[in-house]
Assembly symmetry: C2
Homo-oligomer: 291 residues x 2
């Protein structure tokens, strides 16, 4: 057993998948789940993911050795306010949010000095959301990035790492700001682009839109999957990683303008060169077993 | 048997998949494959996809009832020049290219009046290319668009339609220009965007690029698959569907700028609204069984 008691604050796709792993492997003695809506709590009970449920974060964290925050990131500040007075001495607070510097900024100043803050980001997911969408195998062979501040208790970081390893993940520890830059490129920009292109199609006249759906297997389909991700979660990600997203978006825009220019001017060689270079990255992704 | 003799001019993923269907179901008595490179012809023989092979288009089409052009679109003009003097009276010429108005413009003026031109576009594919990548099931439950000019022999159109139906496809007949507009949105823009974003990552410093590959499962990965498509084929598509691509790219750019503005100004409601609307399209794609 890794922990005596684990409290989940919020439980969607990621949280419920982790709870399934914990249940499956008996990694803790007691799971408490806190969610705002009774509907979510009912679902959690139905799925047998918790020993106790509550809509009160302060009640949820009392006696917990590990508090795992799994809400949209915009809620972090209010959660820190609600739980800080009720945390057990030496408890670990972790999270699964997609932006790490803002997670630290929202949580660290409000937590008591006896608490170990180990922010985390399991890089796994599907386009589905909610506790009913989770499954224990979601994390297998994927990376989990932990971004503890310098000086964080190493045993605490190691316990969180071990939890994710039990879920099948590989662990990487890095600086929060660097995490946000890398994920801005690999995750936030691709989602922004997918949301935009599907939005562009949404604005088409109705007849044309129906045809776009009908013939979506030609490429568009893959973008609709990405653009079906949870709207509130993604709203918060873009607001909280604004600088890194705008920076990489600027580079993307320059490159898109160059592509547009090559098409307008009929520069076939330029296009072929660009399209040949991108094949190599696909090969690297496959070699890294991330395809 | 649908045809006595079929000639393939060029044979990559699409052509070889169709040849496999024809072989499997005995849809013709004789297949000739023409390709420029001996290596391709050797592969075709090894895969047993042809009864005869040649690198001479004029030789390939002699006596053929159906000539199926499966090369990159940039080669169409030269192919029409090479075959026009050797086509059998009443033969059908078809193709599988992704842009239809330019296919007609390249082929129609050069073909004898006795020939039935039935341009086609089977909307199916993978990121792999070459005859060894083909498989007979590629087309099942996908759409094939045919764009015969007004006045084209209906029996000829129906024979081509029947061939694709045997491969498992659903048939839609439409105007070439309209096809190019719809595919500009569903296929050409998504590929352009994917090539661009993967290109942006290709230009990153080496350390950062390695991390982008490592953590690509967070979204970027899906774009690398699309951006691994055949460079020459896609060069030709953008050159030949320039107007439709630049038009939809203009709309996309406006929408991306609006998204960028909302992020910069921290307009959470705007972002959440946009991200919620795109979910509906995903639902429609799933309902249309194109996911």
């Amino acid at each position: 057993m890794l922990f005596e008691r684990i409290a989940f604050i919020g439980i969607g796709l990621i949280g419920s998948s982790l709870a399934r792993v914990i249940r499956r492997d008996g990694l803790c003695g007691h799971i408490t789940v806190c969610a705002r809506f009774q509907e979510t709590l009912d679902k959690v009970v139905e799925l047998d993911l918790a020993d106790t449920v509550t809509n009160d974060p302060a009640e949820a964290v009392a006696d917990a050795d590990l508090v795992m925050i799994c809400t949209p990131m915009g809620a972090y500040g209010a959660i820190a306010d609600a739980i800080s007075g009720n945390l057990k001495d030496g408890a670990i607070v972790s999270d699964v949010g997609s932006v790490k510097q803002s997670a630290i900024d929202s949580l660290a100043p409000k937590l008591p000095k006896t608490i170990h803050l180990v922010p985390g980001h399991p890089i796994a997911g599907t386009e589905h959301s909610g506790p009913e969408s989770g499954f224990a195998e979601l994390f297998v062979d994927r990376w989990c990035i932990l971004t503890p501040a310098t000086g964080t208790n190493e045993a605490a970081t190691e316990k969180v790492a071990e939890l994710w390893r039990k879920a099948g993940m590989m662990i990487e520890v890095m600086d929060a700001e660097h995490h946000d830059q890398v994920l801005g490129i690999t995750s936030h920009l691709p989602h922004l682009i997918a949301y935009t292109i599907v939005g562009t199609a949404t604005d088409l006249e109705d007849d044309l839109k129906q045809e776009v759906i009908k013939f979506s297997a030609s490429g568009f389909r893959d973008f609709t999957r990405i653009a079906a991700s949870d709207p509130v979660m993604w709203r918060d990600i873009f607001l909280q990683n604004k600088d890194a997203v705008l920076d990489i978006l600027g580079r993307f825009n320059e490159d898109l303008t160059a592509m547009q220019r090559a098409i307008r001017r009929g520069e076939g060689d330029t296009l072929e060169d660009m399209f040949s270079r991108t094949r190599k990255i696909r090969r690297s992704v496959i070699d890294a077993k991330q395809d």
